[in-house]
């Protein structure tokens, strides 16, 4: 039997504007079927221009070598690895929203999961560029793959966290892509069945894999989504955990600390949600999706931001405390001089990180602030700046003063091509995102429809009868 569709009237509706099924289809397909706006073109070309600059910067690096970057013997990891970790971190929110929130049954995920997953995939693509080009001789990149070869066979080092990264990032990319695409199939079918032009019929027909909406297919699809969600939950944890292992397995002060894995994951979710916020605030406005991405959604995401920001804060303080408690003078020096001392050469980055990641998100304890779009947007950008600082702090402040004072260095500032590479990944990210926003259903149509009867505003008004019932009457009528 169909189950009673009911939720408490105290919860705000997640779909507003008196929608029915057909209107949901209309609203979400409209931007796909309309001609791109001028604004879209402007944004898209800026993104492509950035991408081109990035391609040129990478070309310089590949042709002339890593010397194009300002890394030196002490600071062997700088912007490149900082950017890598930053992008990978951002690439965590999509899977978190789709997978963990699916398991925790947070209804608001339906409004934002599609865009968040797309963002995840693009962010991971950007992240992957950095370690690959950091190799220097990028044409040898296939050396990281374990395959029987004529060099012995000389195998890769399975004990190395850098190799774990190869496996983690590629698995994560593959699984996220499969998860995202399997969710897209029914929505592509919707677009296909509405298509007017031949080209659209062909392309969306190919993309939808011949989806019909058969009940048996839906049953398998549900099972697939649930298992993929179940798999992605530990997977998303494992990816940033393994990234943290790149640092924590070493014996470098400030890197070797056991709390790194969960704290990296919390930080990743934190920055990922911030990026989703930045994009959603714009997307909902540009594509008139305010009825699907409501202030309720924004507020829920801001709650996750303050939660993860505080967890990260708890970890920062734990580390700082242990820097003292361990009474290990190297740890102490790193944490209390190289980082926490504002007047040390890189002290500013530590306090930048603290201000952006721990202190300022506390503003979201206030409901008014959580529901303020301007504050939300501003904060989401600030958080991502803060999270970039975090990775910079971890990498550079631990490296620039190592065990050998003669090689101490503070003279690290990125070269044009280092910056260009970073800007280029922004280009890649936004090029992909603009294409996605134009040609893909940015909100999961089928998923919105499946929660519409529970959480749509008109449909909720129809629940007055159940809301008014005495508890005894209610259980008599509906308890199973």
């Amino acid at each position: 039997m169909a189950h009673l569709k009911y939720e408490s009237q105290l919860r705000e509706p997640l779909v507003t504007g008196n929608k029915d099924y057909h209107q949901v289809t209309e609203d979400i397909c409209r931007p796909i079927e309309a001609k791109p706006t001028k604004l879209w073109y402007v944004g898209f070309y800026i993104a492509v221009a950035l991408l081109m600059f990035g391609v040129y910067s990478v070309y310089r690096e590949v042709t002339y070598g890593i010397g194009q970057w300002n890394l030196n013997k002490t600071i062997g990891w700088g912007w490149d690895i900082t950017n890598f970790v930053w992008w990978v971190g951002i690439g965590h929110a999509g899977t978190l929203i789709s997978a963990i929130l699916l398991l925790f049954r947070q209804g608001w995920r339906t409004g934002v999961n599609r865009a968040a997953e797309a963002m995840t995939i693009f962010a991971v693509m950007c992240a992957g560029q950095f370690p690959i080009f950091h190799m220097g001789r990028v044409w040898m990149a296939f050396f990281v793959l374990p395959y029987p070869n004529t060099r012995g066979p000389l195998w890769v080092n399975f004990n190395s966290p850098l190799l774990w990264d190869v496996f983690a990032i590629s698995t994560y990319f593959t699984v996220s892509l499969l998860f995202w695409y399997s969710g897209l199939l029914p929505d592509f079918a919707t677009v296909r069945d509405r298509a007017k032009t031949k080209l659209r019929k062909l392309l969306y027909g190919v993309a939808a894999f011949g989806w019909t909406g058969s009940t048996k297919h839906w049953q398998r699809h549900e099972s697939l989504s649930l298992v993929l969600a179940g798999l992605s939950t530990p997977l998303v944890l494992s990816v940033h955990t393994i990234v943290s292992f790149d640092f924590a397995t070493s014996v470098i002060p400030g890197w070797h600390t056991t709390i790194f894995p969960p704290y990296f994951v919390a930080g990743a979710v934190f920055s990922g949600f911030a990026m989703v916020q930045s994009l959603m605030v714009i997307v909902r406005k540009v594509f008139a999706l305010e009825d699907y991405i409501t202030l309720g959604h924004i507020e829920a995401m801001n709650k996750v931001i303050v939660l993860t920001g505080s967890i990260v804060g708890c970890a920062y303080l734990t580390e700082l405390f242990m820097g003292w408690y361990s009474q290990n003078k190297y740890e102490g020096y790193t944490f209390w001089y190289s980082r926490a001392n504002l007047f040390s050469p890189y002290g500013w980055s530590y306090w930048g990180m603290m201000a952006c990641n721990v202190i300022s998100p506390q503003i979201f304890w206030f409901r008014k602030m959580r529901r303020n779009l301007f504050v939300t947007f501003f904060m989401s950008v600030l958080v991502n700046i803060g999270m970039w600082f975090e990775r910079f702090v971890i990498i550079v402040t631990s490296l620039y003063r190592d065990y050998l004072p003669s090689s101490w260095s503070v003279y690290y500032s990125p070269s044009t091509w280092e910056i260009g590479f970073y800007l280029g990944t922004f280009g890649l990210f936004f090029t992909c995102f603009f294409l996605f926003a134009k040609y893909f259903p940015v909100v999961a149509i089928a998923e919105i429809k499946s929660v519409l009867k529970t959480t749509g505003d008109t449909q909720k008004d129809g629940m007055d009868k159940q809301e008014e019932m005495q508890p005894e009457e209610f259980v008599h009528e509906y308890a199973h």
């Binding site: 070797h256 508890p471 009457e473 259980v475 199973h480």
Partner: protein, 409 residues
């Protein structure tokens, strides 16, 4: 019209069992006191250490119930409302076990000055170049203040949450305005509890009480690890009481759907615990710094080897293999078995965390441990039963009750 059966009466058998277990526990403690507590320094340390880890473990798993309530309140969860009174009842043990733990800890620090447990209490700590640096944190005065504050605020904030919950028994809560205000006030109290929980269980308290036994050693993960261990055991305890009441014919609106979700928590947090376990162990193993690996020396290569691997089998292998299936999480017998196993597993975990540092030459797990545990289990049964009988079992007018009744996994 069906009325909601909501008044729990303590069955005679429950009382007998509880009192029996308490009697066994008291007897074990008396014998322990005579045979070990009066013995040499080592025996005495074992006796007090056993008392200490038991009181901390059982206090933390009862406090985990309140954490569960507050976390679900903040997440605006609706599904748990039908059985919410059970974690509430379990959390009434926090003042009792908190009191016991406080007495044990204060006895160690102030009366016994047991530097075999807390090395930082000894005279030589003042000259030890590492320990002397830590004395700003590891000193009796701070220990007293922070312990008292931690336990005290858990008690006060927990009581506040339970008091708020009583409002849900009154019809006055019906309607939108009272409902909204109720949810809001719950949110405020729950966030206070969670913040304090993070500042204590999530960070300082496990360092102070347990990690400082190995006074030279440190691990930033330690507190989160302890939290995961106590939380998954706490969820299992809730599951046990839900199943018990269900078998007694109470909680008619709690069904397999709810049990399934509790099972998911047990499953997920077992894996989370393993994740933290692995992260801590692997990083220390990999970096191989002597100051750090010393902690695992007795545990992995010494006499605790057996317990160490048993810990992993019970707390990781069993839950992941058995609880993975949907049907297992909906099966009352299997869930009872798993809940008991998980609580036992994490009790073993606490045992090796504390005793692994106190009795390095041989494992002391024996009649005394089980006897003292029996005392705490008896107390849990007795006082949870009492608390359950005091309030209606179902918060009838809770704004999310109806959602919880029709909850569907």
């Amino acid at each position: 019209m069906a009325s909601i059966r909501e008044q729990f009466e303590i069955p005679g058998k429950m009382k007998t069992w509880a009192l029996g277990l308490i009697a066994v526990g008291v007897l074990a403690m008396i014998i322990g006191l005579v045979t070990k507590g009066m013995g040499d320094e080592h025996e005495k340390t074992v006796f007090i250490g056993t008392l200490m880890y038991n009181s901390l473990f059982f206090m933390l798993i009862c406090n985990a119930s309140m954490f569960f309530i507050c976390a679900t309140t903040l997440a605006m969860g609706g599904w748990q409302v039908v059985f919410r009174r059970i974690p509430e009842a379990i959390s009434t043990l926090v003042p009792i076990f908190g009191g016991i733990a406080w007495v044990v800890l204060m006895y160690i620090v102030f009366i016994d000055h047991n530097h075999h447990i807390y090395h930082w209490l000894s005279e030589e700590a003042k000259t030890d170049h590492i320990l002397s640096g830590k004395l700003g944190f590891l000193n009796p005065v701070f220990f007293l203040i922070w312990t008292t504050l931690a336990i005290g605020l858990w008690i006060i904030l927990g009581a506040k949450m339970r008091k708020l919950s009583s409002e849900a028994d009154e019809a006055a809560l019906r309607g939108e305005e009272p409902g909204k205000s109720f949810v809001w006030r719950n949110t405020v109290s729950a966030s206070l509890f969670i913040v304090w929980f993070a500042l204590t269980v999530g960070s300082t308290v496990p360092w102070l009480w347990m990690m400082s036994i190995d006074a030279h050693w440190y691990s930033t993960m330690y507190s989160w690890y302890t939290f995961a261990s106590s939380f998954v055991a706490g969820m299992s305890l809730i599951a046990l009481f839900v199943i018990y009441l269900k078998n007694k014919g109470y909680l008619e609106y709690t069904n397999q759907e709810h049990l399934h979700d509790i099972g998911k928590f047990m499953f997920a947090f077992s894996i989370f615990w393993t994740y933290l376990w692995f992260s801590q162990y692997m990083l220390i193993w990999y970096a191989n710094i002597p100051e750090e690996t010393i902690y695992f020396k007795t545990r992995v290569q010494g006499p605790y080897k057996g317990l160490f691997f048993l810990n992993l089998i019970i707390n990781f292998v069993c839950p992941i293999l058995i609880l993975m299936k949907r049907s297992a999480k909906r099966n009352y017998t299997l869930m009872t078995f798993m809940a008991v196993l998980i609580i036992f597993g994490h009790w073993i975990d606490f045992h090796q965390m504390v005793m692994g540092s106190l009795s390095k030459e041989h494992v002391t797990l024996g009649w005394l441990d089980f006897g003292i545990a029996a005392f705490f289990i008896g107390m849990i049964i007795l006082f949870t039963g009492r608390a359950l009988a005091k309030k209606p079992l179902v918060p009838k007018y809770h704004p999310f009750l109806k959602e919880s009744v029709i909850h569907h996994t």
